[in-house]
């Protein structure tokens, strides 16, 4: 029999207890890392396959892989800060105690990830790339705010997890970068299971009362959120740090290129499959 979300939360809490670790012991950060290494899988780099890629020296390609690792960890930090804020607001709300027990683990694990990401960024790059996302207050229909929160968590984490899973297995990567991706994926697998279940539960609870107009708005929002989330992977600050000319035009052109669009479609394959299966989407949005 399919488990309800309270039962699932209990199972996931037990798994989190079983796999509990200290972030200060799990990953050792050496004083220096070998800069002439791959820190991001080349195929996941924003310029891979683009004309600009051919013009980069091998040293520049590896530096790009370092800078885009810092960018990836930075956008994870910003995403997880928002996630932690939203999860904390949902502790001990009207849901069952089992949910709150699991949210404590969720918060703990997200905090550990931020320790990994933040330590890497500050120790080896001396900075975290700033966030450009802004949120404006608005009114919501009943259940909409909760649904959109878990929807954003789902989309953000699924996209990140594709990268973690790929890079956690990539033996070309500098061992520390590989390990950070492995740890992140390991915990995220539980978070994704929980997030998916809650998302579907909220959708089923509210879809009838929202009606077609609100659902159309939500479906458009999904497309926009995906585009905005991916846009952060094409950061002009990275290109500037690499010494490339016209970083804003480059980011814009590369993001809108067909190669990048195809890459996004590959990353999103399972995301769309899940959203279509549950009728949260009726067709794939443009990416």
């Amino acid at each position: 029999m399919k488990k309800n979300t309270s039962q699932l939360a209990t199972l996931l809490s037990d798994a989190s207890v079983k796999h509990f670790y200290s972030p200060f012991e799990a990953i050792v950060f050496p004083e220096k890392v070998e800069m002439n290494s791959w820190f991001t899988s080349p195929e996941l780099l924003s310029l891979y396959g683009q004309p600009e890629w051919e013009q980069l020296t091998e040293e520049q390609r590896r530096k790009l892989s370092f800078l885009e690792a810092v960018n990836f960890y930075s956008l994870n930090i910003h995403g997880e800060k928002a996630l932690i804020e939203g999860l904390a607001q949902r502790l001990y709300d009207e849901k069952s105690a089992e949910h709150s027990r699991y949210i404590h683990h969720f918060l703990d694990e997200e905090n550990k990830h931020m320790i990994f990401f933040g330590t890497f960024c500050m120790k080896y790059a001396g900075k975290v790339y700033p966030d450009r996302k802004l949120a404006f207050e608005r009114t919501y229909e009943d259940g909409e705010k909760d649904f959109l929160f878990f929807l954003k968590v789902f989309l953000f984490e699924e996209i990140v997890d594709y990268h973690n899973l790929t890079m956690g297995k990539d033996e070309r990567l500098e061992p520390l970068a590989r390990k950070i991706n492995q740890y992140h994926h390991f915990d995220e697998a539980r978070h994704l299971t929980y997030g998916r279940a809650v998302l579907v539960e909220l959708f089923q609870q509210h879809v009838e009362t929202w009606g077609p107009e609100k659902m159309e708005e939500i479906r458009q929002y999904i497309g926009s959120y995906i585009q905005t989330t991916f846009r952060e992977y094409y950061n002009p600050d990275v290109y500037q740090d690499l010494g490339l000319e016209n970083p804003y035009d480059l980011a814009d052109r590369v993001f809108h290129s067909e190669i990048s669009r195809q890459h996004r479609k590959t990353v999103l394959k399972n995301v769309f499959k899940f959203l279509l299966q549950n009728q949260i989407l009726l067709e794939e949005p443009a990416v």
Partner: protein, 86 residues
């Protein structure tokens, strides 16, 4: 910044909004049209607008301590980020 005047910057921003938003036409959009309140721009599109403003200005914009209402309309955006222009 390529020595633009304030009017030129406003024009560029207005054109960008028309290109990105299907919710308003050129004859309706002015520098005091409410962008967020009228949902002409979503919070997600504001990130893209920020990138565009940085490109026009030629440098990174500090957004950490922005006041609410900074993106209210084109006039306020220009006052916030291009106040030094004439």
């Amino acid at each position: 910044m390529n020595s633009l005047t304030l009017d030129e910057v406003k024009k560029q921003i207005l054109e960008w909004i028309l290109q990105k938003s299907s919710k308003i036409s050129a004859d309706q959009l002015t520098e005091v049209t409410p962008l967020i309140e009228s949902r002409i721009l979503s919070s997600l599109q504001v990130m893209e607008l920020l990138l565009f403003l940085e490109k026009v200005k030629g440098s990174r914009l500090a957004i950490k301590n922005l006041k609410p209402g900074t993106f209210k309309d084109v006039q306020t955006i220009c006052q916030t980020f291009f106040g030094e222009l004439k």
